[in-house]
Symmetry: C2
Subunit: 449 residues, 2 copies
């Protein structure tokens, strides 16, 4: 397709139902809508289906090139996983019987130490990128391990499969539990600089480095300071963990006696910026949330992990009321599932658990959680200029959902409204219902033969 | 295959890993085991794989007839869904925004009223039986609706697909919310008698009627008494609901002022027997649990429903400590998922939620929850003489699980121990990993072409 009338060239046009979120509405259903994507992968126009002739003329495409969605199909924005440990995917679904700090020492560090081995890394990283894409994760913020070459490989694989990704080489110079699985402060800095430089030199269009101190207990104050500087000097994203468990909060208090709070530790080291995403935050005080709002830092809510490791319940309603940006994360493998649909379900579960504890708690609606999994995630990663919903000028990151997929997990008994189809998908659907995945206009699922 | 040495004729022999539970062990892993099933569908022998020659001779089969499981495969007992509303499956995955009593009036009763229409009933009941079988439910205890003919149809469909089932025509003579969706006490008795008679006349080998008062608030004391008599005179199973929400407990207190507790209401009407299974029980007192133990009545724990409708958390550990029989239920559609794997996961979630609230709470292990989904369920339905685990003389109700199923949801990176395979299956698997389902020795999944 091409246009003689404008310099914009249209690559795809879809007609059907689109559901997405906006700042003012948790769920907008766009019935019989025509959406065009240009050759750069950006949304070129959104119009009414009945305006097809006028839009054909204006944008220079033919009616026969329009892809018509079928009954029980709709498009939704791709989902944003704001926190996932790619390196832990090898043991996902196991090892969930210990609290966080013991869990790290017993299961996590020994596995992460294996990523020196690039063949092992290639195997697991290929599967995690394929699996999350199939599950509808168009954007992921990944933790890798301390190993620079394996972390670069993760970036390469995400690029090859076409996933939008932040990739973090993990930094940690404190670890007494597993020998060799830590760096000296100098190594950590040198390798972080090398990781950032080499990843940026590849000029992957959708993959960016993210500065990744594991979490305060694993990092010396000196290392934290240097990482803050690196992020600032290179205008980079930052990711870490905060206030996942009470035991960890207590540990940070002891390790950083000069800081007023866990949040203050990161703030003091210039690691709390409007490009920071912190996982968990179950036990943050309202004063700490205020620091998040003031700095523009965000929270990655990882409900599967918080339940599976018995870490705590994050009160998402309170975080939202305090105007702190919040997205959802799978937190593989503290969270056992690599699917953002599971993160949606567990976010609803956690909110309902808070309602069971206190009937005054204002339960999240599925529409609100849908927003958190899409637009909310893009805001949490400061990527909402490019992705998160269907707006002209944004990249087309989208899932073509088919509730009536053959051999799929959902039964449909009659023609249903889009709202019903969406709710059934969020509660009961899986990758079999995700017929196609687009990232920046490129169809990345089904995988190219 | 046949035997000249005994009257027992062997129909199948499998060799590989079997995992199951016993009274004394939540999880037994039987490595390289040979299991034979006779032509009546019963387990004829269980032996060591290395004893194959001796077993061939003893039971009269040939080595070439042994089905060898592959790597990443194992057999486990079929799962037992102790509480599922077949009639509510049409709206599973939606309508989860109201507490129980409003939810019943707003969503449930209007849908259940539609089962006068046998074509609608056939469509939904066919799908729910197919779906639950595919998901590994070899035994289900179903609620239908007040309609006798549709309830008989559910029994017929379960029989045709080969599922072991209790089927209950729902009884209720109190309902002010949805006109016409209730019976007179006489209708309820006459139709219950007709339902039992006609279902038994069909002589389905695996499908039995269950006396099913909806729950105390929907039934007059007179109806409850008569249903208690019917159950007693016919030695039938009984199912109902109890103490799902606090509001309902309060309502029962008002409706039955002469009873000491909700449990006492059922006890007084002879509805608490060793063939009774009561759903939920979130708010039962320890005194009430004592009545359960004394009568041999059991609890169907339905964690998805209890979370989804914000009903409460059942403390399963306390129930088990008090020696009350307990199985798991999906409770479609208060629970949104028709999969017992979801019930397993949500049971773990609920137990972990209780640990988050109180760190002294002794969290259930996945092995214990596996037992509840299999042997525990068969005990809760008083069917453990026939099913629930792999013992010689029991029916062969089993799932052939393949963790490495092509296009499946689980990634495997290396040869794994059976324990790891089982935990990954319980946390991450779905119907794609269930290669075959057997009920009483008959292969019912894949469905016959």
């Amino acid at each position: 397709m091409s246009s003689s009338r404008s310099t914009m060239v249209i690559a795809h046009v879809f007609r059907g139902t689109f559901v997405h979120s906006t700042q003012s509405s948790a769920l907008d259903v766009l019935d019989d809508t025509l959406l065009g994507v240009d050759t750069l992968g950006k949304i070129a126009f959104i119009g009414r289906g009945t305006d097809v002739d006028r839009l054909c003329e204006k944008y220079g495409f033919h009616v026969r090139d329009v892809t018509q969605l079928r009954q029980h199909e709709f498009f939704m924005p791709g989902m944003v996983d704001t926190h996932i440990h790619a390196s832990q995917y090898s043991y996902a679904g196991t090892a969930l019987d210990l609290p966080l700090l013991q869990w790290l020492n017993t299961y996590t560090f020994p596995v992460e130490a294996r990523y020196k081995d690039l063949e092992f890394a290639r195997k697991v990283y290929t599967q995690v990128v394929r699996r999350t894409l199939r599950n509808g994760t168009t954007t992921a913020s990944y933790f890798a391990t301390i190993h620079t070459d394996a972390s670069l490989l993760l970036g390469q694989i995400a690029n090859e499969f076409g996933q939008r990704a932040l990739v973090g080489k993990v930094c940690m110079d404190r670890n007494d539990a597993v020998k060799h699985y830590k760096e000296t402060p100098e190594e950590s800095l040198d390798e972080t600089n090398r990781f950032i430089r080499e990843l940026l030199e590849n000029k992957y269009p959708l993959v960016m480095p993210v500065v990744t101190p594991r979490f305060a207990p694993s990092c010396s104050p000196a290392l934290l300071s240097h990482l803050g500087e690196i992020a600032q000097n290179n205008h980079l994203h930052i990711q870490s963990h905060i206030s996942e468990t009470k035991e960890e909060v207590q540990m940070v208090k002891e390790l950083f006696p000069d800081s007023e709070s866990y949040t203050d530790v990161y703030l003091k080291h210039n690691l709390l910026t409007d490009k920071t995403v912190m996982a968990h935050g179950c036990h943050l005080s309202d004063e700490e949330l205020k620091l998040f709002r003031e700095t523009g830092a965000s929270i990655a809510h990882c409900p599967n992990s918080n339940i599976s490791l018995c870490s705590g319940f994050l009160d998402v309603r309170n975080v939202l009321n305090r105007k702190v940006k919040l997205g959802l994360g799978t937190d593989v493998a503290g969270g056992y599932s690599p699917s953002m649909l599971d993160a949606v379900r567990k976010t609803l579960d956690t909110s309902k658990a808070l309602t069971i504890k206190d009937s005054e708690h204002q339960t999240l609606s599925f529409q609100e959680v849908f927003r958190l999994a899409t637009l909310g995630g893009s805001q949490a990663l400061s990527m909402d200029e490019h992705t998160g919903n269907f707006e002209v000028g944004k990249d087309f990151d989208a899932l073509r959902v088919n509730l009536a997929a053959e051999e799929g997990p959902v039964d449909i008994f009659q023609r249903e409204e889009p709202l019903v189809l969406l709710e059934k998908f969020l509660n009961l659907g899986d990758d079999r219902n995700i017929a196609e995945v687009y990232v920046a206009g490129r169809r990345v699922v089904p995988f190219p033969g």
